[in-house]
């Protein structure tokens, strides 16, 4: 009984941990490469979650299959945010850039939940396809389909990212930029563009987290951001 309880907790813990890990990867990449501390990271995820929710509710689109669509939507949102808001501070020296981007991100962090609340109320929403809440047993341990799917996606994405960063020229340029921004320029790397593309990659990945979070937590929409964020920083 006790053993089963511990194992069950462990399985659930791994599930939650993988999601936080995945979320933190995005946050730390943006911070490491662009020196932008995006405190509104969780808010972007919240918006992605809503996108997934509406796709499911209005169009009956499966949350996992809908990932690419949400991805494109958030890619555009991320691009607009970067172009309109963050690109202006990109030319400053690191310290100034960090402080100013923090201000902008805090702004987004205040604005996004308000917009979400106004548009979609503060009600709790859940994406509930037929398989949500279902689980199967392995040696007496219950494993949910949705958490398992989320775990698999998390593992695939993190591994993929790892390969991208370590095996491709582009990935190495991203790492070099994060290690020494000035020296990366002297290698002939277009630092500005690397930052930009990197931000796109991250914003694009955001919806992934969102949906996974959503299916996992069945959270009330507009306060998802803060909850995710606190966990991610930790």
């Amino acid at each position: 009984m006790t053993l089963a309880f511990i194992t069950q907790s462990l399985v659930s813990g791994i599930n939650v941990g993988a999601l936080y890990g995945l979320t933190a990867v995005g946050l730390s990449l943006v911070f490491g490469v662009m020196k932008i501390l995006n405190v509104a990271h969780g808010e972007f995820i919240m918006i992605g979650a809503y996108a997934g929710f509406w796709l499911f509710t209005l169009l009956d689109c499966d949350p996992f299959l809908g990932l690419p669509l949400v991805g494109i939507a958030l890619f555009l949102l991320g691009m607009i945010c970067y172009k309109v808001l963050f690109s202006h501070v990109a030319k400053f020296v690191e310290e100034v850039k960090l402080k100013n981007s923090l201000l902008i991100a805090f702004g987004l962090f205040l604005i996004f939940p308000q917009i979400a609340q106004t548009l979609w109320t503060g009600d709790e929403r859940a994406i509930s396809p037929a398989y949500s809440g279902e689980s199967f047993a392995v040696l007496g341990i219950r494993i949910g389909y949705v958490p398992l799917g989320a775990l698999l996606v998390a593992v695939v994405v993190i591994l993929g990212l790892h390969l991208l960063l370590n095996k491709t020229y582009y990935g190495k340029a991203v790492r070099a930029t994060s290690e020494n921004w000035r020296a990366a320029k002297l290698m002939g790397i277009n630092v500005e563009r690397t930052c930009y593309e990197d931000s796109q990659a991250i914003f694009q990945k955001n919806p992934l987290f969102s949906l996974l979070w959503h299916s996992k937590l069945r959270t009330d929409g507009s306060s998802l951001g803060p909850r995710v964020r606190m966990g991610t920083y930790v």
């Binding site: 020229y169 190495k172 070099a176 290690e179 020494n180 020296a183 002297l186 290698m187 002939g188």
Partner: protein
Amino acid sequence: MLEVQNIDVFYGDIQALWDVSLRVSEGEMVALIGANGAGKTTMVETISGLLRSKAGAITFNNIRIDKKESHKIVQMGISLVPEEKGIFPGMSVLENLELGAFPAESRKHKDESYQSVYGLFSVLESRLQQSAGTLSGGERTMLAIGRALMARPKLLVLDEPSLGLAPLVVKNIFKVIQEIQDSNVSTLLVEQNVRAALRIAARAYIVENGRIADHGKAEKFLHDEKVIEAYLGAA
């Protein structure tokens, strides 16, 4: 090849360079010498596009480069080895070298470039998988120079390559700089180690308080009492 004409450079409101002009010809080695804070690093950083000039022009093979971004200038064939070396400490020696060949044109000749870099710095070849942060000061300098050569530059700009290195290591580095020069890469060399620099350079510019105080054949300065007194100490 490189032509710097009457540039003024500012840090905010503070002027660091006044009316600086200098020239590096094809295959030539030119030394920039002067005291700490005279503006030598400012000059090479402006050439590399890390700093912007307020007035004047910089041309490279007759193309204006003073408004171009650093990465474009690298692609055109000017590589700077900065004073702080700027290696990527968390990446392996091999990855550092690989990133040196980032411009598309250099990437095509990557394998050739590795061989010529290993030829100059055999110690790097034995440390390829080691992370660059674990290298000694001398090895870091070698890595930084090797990495700059991976881009196959037409003009190599070295900012104080001998800084903080043991005399024996400095001797080796200078030997390699001489070899690079012999392979017909033009070099602009910033050095505090004035005697060594003047011995291998063809011409030299003396930098004082953000201005070019004098220029001419390196040999001439090596026997110039005023220069010797100011930068070499009493001989």
